[in-house]
Amino acid sequence: MDRLYLILTLFLLLNLAAGMWRVLRGPSAVDRMLASQLFGTTAVAILLLLAQLYEREALRDVALLFALLAAVTAVAFVRRLWQSHEHK
Amino acid sequence: MNSAILYALVGVGIFSLGLYALILHPHLLRKILAINVMGSGLFLVLIALAKRTGEPLPDLVPQAMVITGIVVAFSATALALALMVRVAKENHRAELSDDESQQP
């Protein structure tokens, strides 16, 4: 099983790297923001897999915190930046 | 070469990239980001070197220092951003100019 966990974390990391392309290309600010949401979900999955691999409960706490705070940056984007600049 | 040394070298690289951008880019927000990137590189070196204890458990004193470092870096960033907004309000641009005569 451990080998499967490792392969999956590597696969998810590659996924994340591919998503970086959308941040770079845009074209709009919203698209970049969406890609960063993808990173959040992927990072939670990576952390959960690593927690199982290392058998460390604390890593699930890190993932929990990630899941709790996943919305904050996006909310800040919608409420602050989008309302002042017309960032298309 | 083990992963600790690998991450320490990555930390040095990140630090250098940050320093380069800090010196070269005129926009203040970019400079603030550059300082933060430099800080991350430094933390990376500290934590990676703390792993060389030869035991399963790493050296925890640098880890504790880095935790306070992260919080202090955030508060310094907040202060720097407030300064930047202030500069932008006075000069109508968030950049520092070399040329004194350009200042309004």
Binding site: M1, S28, A67 | -
Partner: protein, 99 residues
């Protein structure tokens, strides 16, 4: 490896495939709304499958509870953010993609 290991491996790999689908959607779909659709649905299902696969392997019910809580939180945040972004984009007149 016993049966529960195989089942958990199957769920984990299926979850990974959903993540791949989400990333492909983000990269290939033509406008914000379709990308939003790919992202929030596929990734959350992918994480759900991974959580199910890991829950089979978990040592205690507390761990299962924490895994489910994490998934629930990601669903909540994903759904709310998707609404906020789509709503804002519509209000700003970002047009829907038409063939």
């Amino acid at each position: 490896m016993n049966i529960s290991d195989y089942l958990s491996a199957l769920l984990l790999i299926a979850g990974g495939l959903f993540f791949l689908a989400g990333t492909l959607g983000l990269l290939r779909f033509p406008d914000i709304y379709t990308r939003l659709h790919a992202l929030t649905k596929a990734d959350n299902v992918g994480l759900g499958l991974m959580v199910a696969g890991l829950a089979i392997q978990a040592d205690s019910w507390a761990v299962v509870g924490k895994l489910l809580l994490i998934w629930g939180l990601v669903l909540l945040a994903g759904a709310s953010v998707a609404y906020l972004i789509a709503n804002g984009a519509l209000k700003r007149g970002i047009r829907l993609w038409r063939r």
